[in-house]
């Protein structure tokens, strides 16, 4: 009947219309605004940044201050848009990429920079561009490690640094006669055993967290010289003895060494922090400077300190010849500029402002995250003993493999832990069980690598 045909016609026309406009919407590439003096009068830059739930009112104030400062410099104002979690930001990036419209600048977690890079939707910084943001030299060299696959193809400008370290309870260590945490994973486990008694455990580990577990495995594998995937040769090396040892050590803390609270199989990061904060654990690995806020409000305020995590892999007494002394992943935020942005030069100017020494020092003083500006880092270091180890860990950070396949690899690594939890709760993960899970993870990672471009 007519109406049915009409339905089909309307739908068909609409799809054709979409297709046509879809083509036109994505044609802008490298449309930088004309050079010369930056005049941003009447323009607004749109920046997407993580919502800071630790310092919400301070963040609102910071938004206002940044916009005011930028307006004085260039005449343009800055509008900030926040996202609640990394997943939200990734979704926003995808919808913006597919439609060719959205924020001009994204503040990205470092581990997601490879994914953003692989969409091809962000500006690769030429030498001229680097000058516009203040020059590559102004940054701490380690923080540039995850800006791109190599120095010639970089999209990320380092903005914040949040290296991972180990927090420890000074009182508990002193009572057990331990001076400071060991620099080998085996030594750390031994110390944890001495610190475990009654309802106090040596370590607080969040086995059920979606983010923590893979970083341990990565660190231990890197220290054995295994980067897990190689972007250049497109080979995954998860099905490997070093990785197996890493998982065995990680699980072993609970099942064999018994230095972790049995309830930890259900802990997310927050529960592990809470346990440490109530004095029930001596070591709390894999935290960053964001933990200061929670720990200062807890029962261990003033009694805790940070230390660089062990850099010598399990089973070894010193670093193997091909191993890397990876104390932490390169963690923090990079800023990327979208190719579809019509205000690219203004965007670079804003990034230059935000990564200047003055702004970086002020940011660190307010929010606690460490600066990526080398001068600012030197200034912060003076007189602040608590965060000195964190800055140290920052210089000893290594980047996760720069590949579009890293997202899947990371998921696969965490998946091994998630699917092992039932076994872990009933005694331990058997060797054959672990091997088959590693094979599955290897297949996933290799599949993702094969698809990567």
């Amino acid at each position: 009947m007519r109406s049915r045909f009409a339905v089909g016609a309307v739908a068909g026309l609409a799809v054709i219309g979409l297709a046509l406009s879809g083509c036109s919407g994505n044609s802008s590439t490298g449309s930088a605004s004309s050079g010369g003096d930056l005049d941003g009068k009447g323009k607004t830059l749109d920046v997407m940044i993580a919502a800071n739930s630790l310092y919400p009112t301070e963040q609102q104030q910071w938004f206002k201050d940044v916009s005011a400062q930028f307006q004085k410099e260039t005449g343009a104002t800055v509008k900030f848009e926040t996202f609640a979690s990394a997943n939200d930001e990734l979704t926003k990036i995808q919808t913006s990429v597919v439609s060719g419209q959205g924020p001009d600048i994204y503040d990205l977690g470092t581990t997601f920079t490879p994914t953003a890079y692989s969409t091809g939707a962000f500006v690769k910084l030429t030498d001229a561009d680097w000058d516009k943001v203040g020059g590559r030299d102004r940054f701490v060299p380690a923080t540039l490690g995850i800006s791109g696959p190599d120095a010639k193809n970089e999209v990320g400008i380092p903005f914040l640094s949040r290296p991972f370290v180990l927090a420890y309870n000074k009182d508990l260590l002193a009572a057990a006669g331990i001076d400071k945490p060991a620099d080998t994973w085996d030594g750390l486990a031994e110390q944890a055993k001495k610190l475990t008694s009654g309802d106090v455990h040596g370590m607080a580990i969040a086995y059920a967290d979606s983010f923590d577990p893979w970083k341990f495995v990565w660190a231990m594998s890197m220290q054995q010289g295994n980067p897990l995937i190689d972007a250049k040769t497109k080979k995954a090396t998860i099905d490997d003895d070093a990785v197996k040892k890493a998982y065995e050590t990680y699980f072993g803390w609970l099942s064999d060494d018994k230095v972790v609270d049995p309830a930890a199989i259900g802990w997310k990061n927050a529960q592990a922090v809470a346990a440490f904060g109530s004095g029930k654990a001596a070591f709390l690995p894999m935290v960053s400077s964001s933990s200061q806020v929670s720990l200062d409000k807890s029962g261990v305020a003033g009694k805790y300190a940070y230390a660089v995590m062990p850099t010598i892999p399990p089973g070894e007494k010193k670093l193997p010849s091909d191993g890397k002394a990876a104390a932490s992943i390169i963690s923090g935020d990079n800023m990327v500029v979208a190719k579809y942005s019509k205000n690219q030069d203004l965007a670079f100017a804003l990034v230059k402002m935000l990564t200047s020494t003055k702004n970086q020092v002020a940011y660190t003083k307010t929010f606690g995250d460490l600066p990526t500006n080398a001068d600012a880092a030197k200034q912060i270091e003076q007189g602040n003993d608590l965060i000195a180890p964190i800055l140290d860990a920052g210089t000893k950070s290594f980047g996760t493999p720069f590949s579009g396949a890293w997202g899947d690899t990371q998921l696969a690594l965490v998946n091994v832990v998630v699917q092992s939890i039932p076994a872990l709760s009933s005694g331990g993960v058997s060797s054959s069980d672990l091997e088959s899970k590693l094979k599955a993870a290897q297949a996933t990672a290799q599949g993702a690598l094969d698809k990567s471009k």
């Binding site: 009947m1 109406s3 049915r4 219309g17 979409l18 406009s21 879809g22 036109s24 919407g25 919502a51 739930s53 630790l54 919400p56 009112t57 609102q60 509008k79 900030f80 848009e81 926040t82 996202f83 609640a84 979690s85 939200d88 979704t91 926003k92 995808q94 919808t95 597919v98 439609s99 060719g100 419209q101 949040r162 991972f164 927090a167 967290d209 979606s210 983010f211 923590d212 997310k268 990061n269 927050a270 529960q271 922090v273 809470a274 346990a275 904060g277 109530s278 709390l284 894999m286 935290v287 960053s288 400077s289 964001s290 933990s291 806020v293 929670s294 720990l295 409000k297 807890s298 963690s331």
Partner: protein, 315 residues
């Protein structure tokens, strides 16, 4: 639908004096509602008590957690170990909750009202009239209801941005974008609710009006709508809640000014890597605050959920 034309007549024909007396006695001693009671009293009380416990237990936990310290909640405490009543104050500044609530209320109320009436109109045609493709339309509605949201996110976004560039106006980021999205997603189900409800309405009133020469529009607005308030209220509630609780679409279709409360709430639950405990207390407080408008609206409109048919109107 089985209208009960027969029982009263046979009953009246065979009404014995004893049953008449029984009814008189009941009418004197008890309220009319007793005849309509569906469950015996003890069962009724048991059901309500059990359900209240099941519902209020976790809600009580939310209340306790909303004034507890975040680390205690993370550690699994039930009763508050410390009292932080200021959580209820802090939520308004941690995220722009006031703005979010306002946006949510505006959009969802609009969606509820428009959706309920569109649903009545559509259902009226579907139930009372014949036309080719009627069954297909009905089945198609249910089919549309089964489409998952994650499938539609990117295409809907593409649709809106393309429409924006064709029409030259900004759609994404406005309240209109989420309004249209929620309205359309709520329509299939709301229509079905009205279809089911309208089937139970006797046609006599409408037929009488038709004989008197009323147009379809008059019949719809003067007769059908007033009789179907319960169904309208229920479909309105569902449409409202669809928009109220949606996060996926709101997070990409809104900008900071038009952000809804559901998206704002996400910030509280955000898991931070590296040792920051989520703001459990504020999150529970904010969630309870966000539940209030819906419960209040329900309290206001639930009087319409009582006895739709005007007694005696059919006779």
């Amino acid at each position: 639908m089985t209208t009960t034309a027969t029982p009263p007549s046979t009953a009246s024909a065979s009404r014995s004096r004893s049953t008449a007396a029984t009814i008189k006695r009941k009418a004197n001693g008890t309220r009319q509602g007793d005849i309509t009671r569906l469950l015996p009293k003890p069962l009724l009380v048991t059901v309500i008590t059990v359900l209240l416990v099941i519902v209020l237990g976790p809600v009580l936990y939310m209340l306790f957690s909303s004034v507890n310290g975040d680390a205690s909640v993370a550690g699994g405490a039930f009763f508050p170990t410390e009292l932080h009543f200021d959580n209820y104050i802090k939520v308004w500044s941690t995220v722009d909750l006031g703005n979010g609530l306002m946006n949510s209320v505006i959009v969802c109320l609009a969606v509820a009202v428009v959706c309920a009436f569109l649903a009545v109109a559509t259902a009226y045609v579907l139930v009372r009239y014949e036309f080719r493709g009627r069954l297909t339309f009905l089945r198609g509605l249910l089919g549309l209801q089964s489409i998952p949201g994650t499938l539609m996110l990117l295409p809907v976004f593409v649709l809106f941005s393309s429409a924006a560039s064709i029409l030259g106006i900004q759609i994404i980021g406005t309240r209109a974008a989420v309004f249209i999205t929620y309205l359309t997603f709520a329509l299939p189900f709301s229509t079905w609710v009205m279809v089911t409800y309208l089937r139970g309405l006797p046609k006599a009133l409408e037929e009488a009006a038709r004989i008197d020469g009323a147009s379809s529009w008059r019949i719809l607005t003067r007769i059908v709508v007033p009789l179907s308030w319960p169904g309208i209220v229920v479909s309105g509630i569902f449409a409202f809640l669809l928009g109220w609780n949606d996060v996926l679409f709101a997070s990409v279709l809104t900008n900071p000014e038009t952000r809804t409360a559901a998206v704002a709430l996400q910030v509280f639950g955000a898991t931070q890597e590296g040792g920051a405990i989520p703001l459990y207390g504020q999150m529970m407080a904010a969630s309870l605050i966000c539940a209030v408008p819906v419960v209040v609206l329900y309290l206001v409109f639930q009087r319409y959920l009582i006895g739709g048919l005007t007694s005696g109107g059919v006779k």
